[in-house]
């Protein structure tokens, strides 16, 4: 850990250095890139959820003015899209880049049309005639499991891709047998559609001189794209492929994966001998970006006479869509079941998951990825239990908290995770204070006779960031390592370039990583440049997802700095004719202890490293370092969110009166940036609680396929948030950071849902499935009044 410098940059809310380009319209997103001779692609997509693909007739399309080529599944000779996470006995359906033989969801790409302009390509796509033979389809995960349900793949009976369990079945059954109270609840965690505001896009260009393919793509992890595409799809050496993810307009998981479009566009660019660009229309984002969540669950919680949770039993049908997206099997398994202990001491948990194939768009990681599903379940069940026991929901949580553990010894849950450090009560206490809990409870009671219904929703959550270590991930089915790379080059005059495997698509790494490096080296931030997002520049890296950039990517950079400082110290000691141990390093200067005049500055040492006129014997010149940091464990942020809402029973409308978030994300590099992530996360979680729902009809038509039908959170429906933090450093990484990218999304859905149900208590309602739309609430209240 760094020594305390005069003025620490670590922990300061520094304005973002990437902002000037964005606020002046000079960002460069994929769709802003224009290459000489560039052509444009449009995709023909299936209008059927399930159909035999009898014939694709492109003859008319080829005659459309400006159309250069049309390719179908029969033309495009590339490998199928790979899945990067295996589970025991999983059945992996083949996933061709363009449909072959059958289509299995609305929007599945069937053909690509290339034109001189985007408009010509779209004209061409409309002229492609496809003969389909419609088949019965199924969109619901549970229905897909029933006998007689439409079959997506002949060799995958009952559409069951995998069955997975975690926990101790026998112990859990025993816990339920001896329970004083058992609460059962069926829960839906609805399908969400990510909707980063920048639609996905790609440009592929093959150099006629070198044969090298350059792919600009909206990616959260350019090396993962390169690895999977080069090795599994295109079968070319990685050295012949460069992936550039320039400015990327939000990801939220949806830009982790390798999709059909970039694969087909890459092949087409090579075949055609001209660069090809494709930019999704929003309609296409709805149909073909990987969706999130979509669980149908039966949950049961057991409590003893003292109101202590003694067991949790969960059965989930997880909808995977028609094909396995890149990390699909991981999300409803290892990122779900192990989270079910939450911040509570629960002696016995058993969770069963059926991974189901349906005629819908593939489902994969969406902000939180498995963890929001687990947290929503657990927090909803805690509230259900509190209601049944007639105890205060905050009190029930407090009673069941895992006691403070901050001395480095982890807390082992019954579902695989060993939490790094935790101190849950102070966050809840502070959140209750900030919201004015007791007072609000009084108001709630006072307002009811006046026909006003206020509800308070508490959610105390745990999050797991930076999946790790690689060996464990490998044993659980990962097709990739989960470390991160960093490289630091000190230039002769002392400026520093940092190459990171992490990728920023809104996270602000150019600022936070520069802050980190400047802080550790004691040099001005202006001397530090951050490079990311280009496989030709950065070392092989894993990218950004799972809130891993600070804890894994940042730690890799720190490891580089340790090596650099060590070499710098040797050079400084040599120049000062002093012992290394006798030097202090602060403010970018090595000083001999006790003689402050004897010193060497950062710039002097850097210059000497490159002049190499006077460095220790046997030392190599130069000053740079590379590190691959593989953490020993996940980190486990936590916190308490409390929402106060008012529900109008006459209209079903929900108004958020107050929202308080007290998070503990470990040490914080830039509080302003962390607050911003928490705000955005809360908004997405509120979206799931109140409005967002990716709805498929029973026969697989997407009914919410535009921004007019899919209700994204808007400014006028959200409040300002109150955010605070407690700080429990993570003992597992050198920075003590935990991760903050997903906490808001994980915590806020149950906070809002619990608040709405709490408001509806006088109507005898104990549960409604999210999203809690006015219509749903109004209907439930009307039905309750009838009784």
């Amino acid at each position: 850990m760094a020594t305390v410098a005069e003025e620490r940059l670590f922990g300061k809310s520094i304005k973002r250095r990437e902002d000037p380009r964005f606020i002046t319209g000079r960002g460069q997103y994929v769709d802003d890139v224009k290459l000489p001779g560039m052509t444009y692609a449009a995709f023909v997509r299936s209008p059927h959820a399930h159909a035999r693909l009898n014939k694709v007739d492109a003859s008319a399309a080829r005659k459309v003015p400006g159309v250069l080529a049309v390719y179908t599944g029969a033309d495009v000779k590339v490998g199928g899209l790979p899945c990067g996470w295996m589970l025991p006995d999983i059945k992996v359906p083949p996933r061709p880049a363009l449909a072959q033989g059958k289509v299995r969801y609305v929007g599945e790409p069937v053909a690509i049309v290339i034109g001189e302009t985007a408009y010509a390509a779209k004209d061409g796509a409309e002229a492609v005639k496809v003969a389909y033979e419609a088949l019965p389809a199924v969109s619901n995960a549970k229905k897909a499991h029933e006998t007689g349900a439409p079959q997506l793949f002949d060799n995958i009976p009952k559409n069951q891709c995998f069955y997975w369990t975690i926990g101790d079945k026998t112990a859990t059954e025993a816990a339920f047998k001896s329970a004083a109270t058992v609460v059962h609840q069926a829960l839906l965690n609805q399908r969400l559609i990510p909707n980063a505001i920048e639609p996905r896009a790609c440009i592929a260009s093959v150099s006629p001189a070198t044969g090298e393919l350059t792919l600009w793509v909206t990616s959260q992890n350019p090396h993962v794209h390169r690895l999977l595409m080069a090795a599994f799809v295109l079968s070319i050496p990685e050295t012949k492929m460069r992936v550039i993810a320039p400015d990327v307009g939000g990801g939220f998981g949806s830009k982790i994966f390798v999709y059909n479009e970039e694969v087909v566009v890459s092949w087409a660019a090579k075949t055609l001998g001209r660069p090809v660009k494709w930019t999704a229309e929003r309609r296409e984002s709805f149909l073909n970006d990987a969706h999130g969540r979509d669980h149908v669950t039966e949950a049961e919680i057991a409590l003893d006479h003292d109101g202590k949770v003694s067991g949790l039993r969960v059965k989930t049908h997880a909808n995977l869509g028609a094909y396995l997206s890149t990390f699909a099997p991981l999300i409803p398994s290892y990122l779900y079941g192990p989270l079910l202990s939450g911040v509570y001491k629960i002696p016995a948990i058993f969770c069963e998951v059926w991974g189901m194939l349906t005629d819908t768009a593939p489902v994969d990681a969406y902000r939180g990825a498995g963890r929001p599903e687990a947290t929503y379940l657990l927090e909803r069940m805690m509230d259900r239990a509190a209601r049944q026991l007639r105890v205060d929901p905050a009190e029930l949580r407090r009673k069941n908290f895992i006691p403070k553990f901050t001395d480095g010894a982890p807390y082992q849950t019954p579902v695989a995770f060993a939490y790094d450090s935790g101190n849950y009560e102070p966050a809840l206490r502070r959140a209750l204070q900030l919201v004015g809990y007791d007072q609000t409870r009084k108001e709630q009671l006072a307002l009811r006779p006046k026909g006003r219904y206020i509800g308070i929703g508490v959610s105390t959550y745990i999050e797991a960031c930076g999946p790790a270590p690689s060996a464990v991930a490998g044993s659980l089915g990962a097709g990739a390592g989960l470390w991160e790379s960093g490289q630091v080059r000190v230039h002769p005059a002392g400026a520093v370039t940092v190459y990171t495997g992490s990728h920023s698509h809104g996270q602000g790494h150019e600022t936070t990583f520069a802050q980190l490096v400047a802080d550790e080296l004691g040099i001005p931030m202006e001397q530090v440049e951050i490079v990311h997002g280009d496989t030709a520049q950065i070392p092989f890296g894993m990218g950004t997802y799972g809130s891993r950039s600070a804890c894994v990517g940042g730690s890799a950079i720190v490891k580089c700095l340790d090596k650099i400082k060590e070499k710098g110290r040797k050079i400084a000691a040599h120049l000062l004719e002093a012992n290394e141990q006798d030097l202090d390093f602060a403010g970018g200067t090595w000083t001999v202890k006790g003689s402050p005049d004897k010193k060497k500055t950062w710039g002097e040492v850097a210059l000497m490293a490159y002049l190499a006129h006077n460095i220790p014997k046997g030392m190599e010149p130069g000053l740079e370092a590379t590190s691959f940091y593989d953490p020993v464990n996940f980190t486990f942020p936590f916190g308490a969110h409390i929402a106060v809402v008012e529900v109008d029973p006459e209209t079903g409308a929900v108004k958020i009166l107050k929202y308080v978030a007290v998070d503990d994300v470990g040490r914080v590099i830039n509080p302003m940036i962390v607050d911003g992530m928490v705000h955005g996360g809360i908004a997405q979680g509120v979206g799931q609680a109140l409005w967002e729902h990716g709805v498929y009809s029973e026969d697989g038509q997407l009914l919410t396929g535009t921004m007019m039908d899919y209700a994204l959170p808007k400014a006028d429906a959200l409040p300002s948030y109150v955010t605070e933090r407690t700080v429990t450093p993570s003992p597992i990484n050198p920075l003590g950071v935990k991760g903050a990218g997903e906490t808001g999304t994980i915590a806020s859905t149950p906070a809002i849902a619990n608040a709405v149900i709490d408001a509806l208590e006088p109507f005898g309602l104990t549960h409604l499935d999210i999203p809690l739309t006015p219509q749903k609430i109004w209907k439930a209240v009307a039905a309750a009044k009838q009784k």
């Binding site: 304005k15 973002r16 990437e18 902002d19 000037p20 380009r21 964005f22 606020i23 002046t24 319209g25 000079r26 960002g27 460069q28 997103y29 769709d31 802003d32 224009k34 985007a118 408009y119 909707n195 980063a196 505001i197 920048e198 639609p199 400015d247 990327v248 307009g249 939000g250 939220f252 930019t279 229309e281 929003r282 309609r283 698509h505 809104g506 996270q507 602000g508 302003m672 940036i673 607050d675 911003g676 992530m677 705000h679 955005g680 996360g681 809360i682 908004a683 997405q684 535009t706 921004m707 007019m708 994204l712 959170p713 808007k714 400014a715 006028d716 959200l718 300002s720 948030y721 808001g744």
Partner: protein, 158 residues
């Protein structure tokens, strides 16, 4: 068939022949080459394409280039003057009103008109006026703060 269009964009005169169906936003991005104006949807919901046309904030994806013939247009690239950021741009920077930056040009152009209508806006007015602009990153909290910052500083300048 192509039709002639002339506009003044950020003070520069343009004159081109375009297909009648070419959207204004594609004209600005592809023909004129100003890529700060973004496209985020196909149903006029997201506001990423917002520009000022004859002083009004409009969604450039919702009209044809030929409909803007003769118009005076300001895009995000034209907002800063002589290298000095407009107070709204400055406000977004000061208050961390952006993360990925994709919605930002549209937000800023919408805020421009918002502040003309309501020089001293309440939080409610700001949130209501932003109804036609979507941001998936910020949860709007800091966008509101950014516009409040701009309102204060613009008032100070007058």
């Amino acid at each position: 068939m192509k039709l002639p269009v002339k506009m003044t964009i950020n003070g520069q005169k343009t004159s081109d022949e375009v297909e009648p169906r070419l959207l204004l936003v594609h004209y600005i991005r592809e023909v004129v080459g100003l890529t700060g104006t973004h496209v985020g949807c196909d149903t006029s919901q997201c506001g990423a394409c917002t520009i000022l046309m004859n002083g009004q904030a409009v969604k450039a994806c919702t009209m044809f280039a030929v409909q803007a013939d003769g118009a005076t247009i300001t895009t995000i690239e034209g907002l800063a003057r002589n290298g000095e950021l407009h107070p709204i741009q400055q406000g977004f920077w000061e208050k961390h009103g952006l993360q990925c930056g994709f919605c930002t040009p549209g937000m800023i152009m919408t805020a421009y008109q918002l502040l003309e209508r309501y020089p001293k806006p309440t939080e409610e007015q700001i949130r209501h006026q932003l109804e036609g602009n979507l941001c998936r990153c910020t949860g709007y909290h800091n966008i509101v703060k950014a516009i409040e910052w701009a309102a204060e500083h613009m008032a100070g300048k007058k």
